[in-house]
């Protein structure tokens, strides 16, 4: 799509009506909690799949969502404070504070992932319209919409750099640098992605996990055997409920695949090294990608499933690898590891030592572990594989049984207490 093509520009009300359950939208009417006067133009409450959310323009009603303990969806579209408040405020003394949406930013920056926050970039978003994405659990960007701190016009005036919207902050930029979790081609895809993301999460930290009925059976389990190595997505598809895998940041750090899925109806975060991309090595970016998923899942009580097949030591920056190892260690949700092939080097690092009763380690026959691949041993020789050497076909049932057992009959999200304050963007 050429940068000259203007995306269709529905009003906020139209966005919300297409995103939410039909007829469920109630625009904000009055003064709102701790905020400036709000109006219908700022958004309001609606239902998504029967569950309440607050939808607002570029983060303006975030506090309402937090007070109501349900998700917040920011429809980001606009040039930010300059357009909204800048002109109006220029002559008043409140320039800086008002312009940058200060009070709102303060609330968002101090947020501890108590309610899920989603940002949808549906039109060019600069200034405070862009800021919120850096504090959101999930960002979906529409092709043709530009996301950047400042727009090309200010850039040209301030720095003489001439760039197009697409070059500055188009979807090609943010699919590669990981700032967009999902790239959507159409508005309908944007709405569907938001609904899908929220479907895996509780309404707020501590609320019941949205477990669906007994999950649809998958096939006979992941395919293994002679022939090309199955990619991470095939493995995930084989282990999780059919069609449930919702991938995040697909084109960023492809050596590791991350996303949300369901296992026997239970929402989980899935993280898999992908032997089909860069041999499954963990790069520095892969550590960032994985850490974001771990933090999100820990904050909202989603169990984590790691599928590990990673080669001998590759070299992410030491601190980034340790950051991920720290996140995995500090995560308090149930964690399951499936060693599908090689657990070496940094891949072994992130497996960490499972040591809590809620953790499960499964190794497939032939799996090998050891820090350096030249010195690795079959996984069953290692103590941490003692939970079980299982065939791929047995794995799904074992994971599901374990999660059912540790979560109990009516699973409530038990959010971690530490990672919820970690950086939101990685």
């Amino acid at each position: 799509m050429s940068h000259a093509t203007k995306p269709a520009r529905p009003t906020l009300r139209e966005h919300i009506e297409r995103l939410a359950d039909p007829g469920s939208y109630t625009p904000a009417q009055h003064f709102s909690e701790g905020m400036d006067q709000v109006s219908e133009a700022d958004g309001g409450e609606a239902l998504i799949d029967g569950r309440p959310v607050t939808v607002g323009l570029s983060g303006h009603l975030f506090v309402r969502a937090r007070n109501r303990r349900h998700p917040y969806v920011a429809i980001s579209s606009g040039t930010g404070g300059l357009a909204r408040g800048g002109r109006r405020n220029l002559v008043v003394l409140d320039t800086v504070w008002g312009m940058s949406g200060g009070p709102m930013l303060a609330e968002m920056a101090g947020r501890r992932r108590d309610v899920p926050v989603v940002s949808a970039i549906v039109h060019h978003s600069f200034g405070d319209s862009s800021f919120f994405t850096g504090l959101s659990d999930y960002v979906v960007q529409l092709t043709g919409a530009c996301l950047a701190l400042t727009g090309p016009r200010v850039l040209a005036i301030g720095t003489s750099e001439q760039v197009t919207m697409e070059e500055l902050g188009g979807t090609d930029v943010h699919r590669r640098n990981g700032q967009a979790d999902t790239i959507a081609e159409t508005l309908d895809q944007v709405y569907a992605a938001i609904r899908r993301f929220l479907s895996f999460l509780p309404s707020c930290a501590g609320a019941p996990l949205p477990v669906t009925g007994p999950g649809p059976e998958t096939g006979p389990g992941p395919e293994t055997g002679p022939g090309p190595e199955p990619g991470a997505r095939q493995l995930i598809g084989g282990l999780c409920d059919r069609g449930s895998f919702f991938e995040l940041r697909r084109d960023f750090a492809p050596g590791v695949v991350t996303g949300l899925a369901r296992l026997d109806g239970i929402p989980v975060g899935v993280l898999a090294s992908d032997p089909a991309a860069g041999d499954g090595a963990w790069s520095a970016d892969a550590c960032l990608k994985a850490t974001r998923l771990v933090c999100t899942c820990d904050a909202f009580g989603l169990p984590l499933v790691f599928l590990i097949d990673s080669p001998g030591p590759r070299d992410p920056a030491v601190s980034r690898a340790m950051m991920l190892a720290q996140a995995v260690q500090l995560a308090e949700v149930p964690k399951c590891w499936v060693i599908t092939g090689r657990a070496h080097g940094a891949g072994l690092l992130v497996t960490g030592p499972a040591r809590v009763a809620t953790d499960l380690v499964i190794a497939w026959p032939g799996a090998r572990a050891g820090y350096y691949d030249g010195e690795s041993a079959p996984a069953d020789a290692h103590h941490w594989a003692a939970d079980g050497i299982l065939s791929p076909a047995q794995t799904r049932a074992a994971l599901a049984a374990h999660l059912r057992a540790v979560l109990g009959p009516s699973p409530v999200s038990h959010p971690g207490r530490i990672l919820c304050t970690w950086p939101v963007g990685f």
């Binding site: 404070g81 300059l82 800048g86 003394l93 409140d94 320039t95 800086v96 504070w97 312009m99 940058s100 200060g102 930013l105 920056a109 101090g110 862009s130 850096g134 504090l135 996301l147 950047a148 701190l149 850039l155 301030g158 750099e161 500055l168 902050g169 930029v173 990981g178 700032q179 520095a284 960032l288 850490t291 001998g312 030591p313 590759r314 070299d315 920056a317 030491v318 601190s319 980034r320 690898a321 340790m322 950051m323 720290q326 260690q329 500090l330 690092l349 960490g352 030592p353 499972a354 040591r355 050891g370 820090y371 350096y372 103590h383 941490w384 304050t421 970690w422 950086p423 963007g425 990685f426």
Partner: protein, 562 residues
């Protein structure tokens, strides 16, 4: 070493004996024969002395020690002797050995690849663990020993220092207690690997990379508060050579650290690159002198030098014309106690300055823009550097002083590709979560989001500005251009410059500090000459009346680098 020694045979030892060597005995002498006439209790002591002598002098073997020396390197014990106060070292785990050697007939080499114990630095207790370079790599490092030493440091509320110069294969797969095997139980039930993963800055941790380092030895570098690296050394998760084929990957070129091509300094992970081990020891000592021995502990406040007098020189360091550059470090040095400023990460993201100093004897963290570098504009790397520093200060209760002179975040297509939004917002998040007393001073200019963030988004305790400061939503000339673009377009070419200048001047009036002081966007306008005394007296009273922390700061758990 032919005589077997069971792991449980370590006798009670007194500090004098363990720290001192027995010069009158030569290695091996005491183990040769035990005359009948000597009473048993003396023979057991002599045996201990002999063994200790052997362990401490021979380490991994005379050839290995000579090889180290020939390569210009030091043994673990030489490192410790250089680092700690003379005579203060109390060794722990002298007779520890490798995991798979515990029940072997010949358990050596002793030490388990690490020499460590307790000591003092400038009279304050610390615990050290040093790679034993005389033990041939790839030895399976007994990470259990480092874990034990760290655990002791944690329990005793004292800093923990690791000196890394080896390639140890981490025994990550060991799962102590899980199967109850004897070998898994070597150093207690502590898991081997995660001893630092859950540290959450409870005690200061210093990691010194004083030789090529990889494997388990590299882990503390990613989890410490201060990372010092010796010039010319290599630090990575994987060893170089056959196994480390990734060393030549593109990924490594970007993120790895190879001092030979200057990558060490380029990576912000390293706080300081040093030319010699002695420099590293001195730096560690100096760094720890600003920190409490544990999070929540009393700050090491020194005798207060004069902080009352008016500084009539400092204003002259800052040119009034805001396009003129000046040395912010000179301003920092005048505000801090003389000679107290220690810069960290001096060669990374140099448009922001981070370092520790003292103000009237009180340790402070200084975060300052550097107008000498890109006019003090902020890049995504600056945000990384600032976040890492703020976490350090907040984790250990060190007050923060922010000195602002920045045109804002440097916007460009490259910055957006470098994840500017996420980096900037993470800095905002960090500044919003600060729990230590924080004072911000706008020295000359502060615009837009950069001001909002560096001012802690109104989370700072005290927000000051110098009388010549400009504070606004955007640099006035750029703002005029952006705001009045439609009018400008309608003007004839020759009138545009004057129109712009007039509009910029109009905007500029609102940017004077009196404007933002009027609605308390800043709390006070302060004379440059009084800055030091105002901040010092504020910090003194603020710290004196501060209630003890009831919960750890959220930032204490943040990664050291993200």
């Amino acid at each position: 070493m032919t005589r077997p020694l069971t792991a449980g045979a370590g006798p009670e030892e007194s500090p004098e004996e363990s720290s001192g060597q027995s010069p009158e005995k030569s290695a091996g002498q005491s183990t040769a024969g035990s005359p009948e006439e000597i009473p048993e209790e003396i023979r057991t002591v002599e045996r201990l002395r002999g063994l200790r002598e052997q362990v401490t002098t021979q380490m991994g073997g005379p050839e290995a020690v000579s090889a180290l020396h020939a390569a210009g390197r030091r043994t673990a014990r030489e490192h410790i002797a250089g680092l700690v106060d003379p005579g203060s070292f109390l060794e722990i785990g002298t007779f520890a050995t490798f995991v798979d050697k515990v029940t072997a007939p010949d358990p050596g080499p002793y030490g388990g690849g690490i020499v460590g114990g307790h000591a003092t630095l400038d009279g304050r207790p610390v615990t050290v663990a040093v790679d034993d370079g005389s033990v041939a790599a790839p030895a399976r490092r007994s990470t259990g020993k480092a874990a034990r030493l760290y655990q002791m440091a944690l329990q005793q509320h004292r800093p923990y220092i690791e000196i890394a110069h080896g390639d140890a294969v981490p025994d990550l797969a060991a799962r102590p207690g899980k199967t109850g095997t004897q070998s898994a139980r070597t150093f207690g039930a502590e898991p081997a690997f995660p001893y630092l993963l859950e540290r959450q800055r409870a005690i200061p941790v210093v990691s010194m990379v004083l030789g090529d380092t990889s494997g388990a030895s590299s882990f503390s570098a990613g989890l410490c508060d201060l990372l010092i690296q010796l010039e010319g050394t290599r630090l990575s998760l994987a060893r170089s050579g056959a196994d480390g084929k990734a060393a030549a990957d593109g990924e490594t070129a970007a993120d790895g650290k190879t001092a030979a091509d200057g990558k060490t300094a380029a990576s912000g992970e390293v706080d300081a690159v040093v030319a010699s081990p002695d420099e590293a020891y001195a730096l560690a000592r100096r760094f720890l002198s600003y920190l409490p021995s544990y999070a929540g502990g009393p700050l090491p406040v020194t005798d207060a030098p004069d902080a009352e007098s008016y500084d009539d020189q400092i204003a002259r360091l800052v040119p009034a014309r805001r396009s003129r550059a000046y040395d912010m470090k000179a301003v920092i040095r005048r505000i801090c106690d003389e000679g107290s400023f220690l810069e960290l990460k001096p060669s990374y993201a140099r448009n922001i300055i981070t370092g520790l100093g003292r103000l009237a004897g009180i340790p402070v963290g200084v975060l300052a823009n550097a107008p000498m570098r890109m006019a003090g504009g902020l890049t995504p790397e600056c945000c990384l550097k600032a976040v890492s520093f703020v976490c350090l200060c907040d984790g250990f209760g060190i007050p923060l002083l922010v000195l602002q002179d920045t045109p804002g975040f440097l916007v460009s297509a490259q910055a957006e590709r470098d994840r500017a939004i996420v980096r900037v917002m993470t800095l905002l998040q960090a500044m919003s979560l600060i729990t230590v007393p924080t004072v911000s001073v706008v020295i000359r200019k502060a615009f837009g989001l950069a001001f909002v963030i560096l001012d802690g988004n109104r989370a700072v305790d005290l927000s000051l500005a110098w009388p010549g400061a400009e504070i606004g939503f955007m640099d006035p000339p750029v703002a005029a251009n952006v705001l009045f673009e439609p009018q400008i377009k309608q003007l004839p070419e020759q009138e545009r410059a004057a129109f712009l200048a007039a509009k910029a001047a109009e905007l500029g009036v609102g940017f004077e500090p009196y404007g933002v002081a009027a609605n308390l966007t800043i709390d006070e306008i302060v004379e440059p000459g009084a800055t030091r005394s105002v901040v010092a007296s504020y910090l003194r009273t603020s710290l004196a009346e501060r209630p003890p922390r009831t919960a750890p700061s959220p930032l204490a758990s943040w990664p050291r680098w993200y």
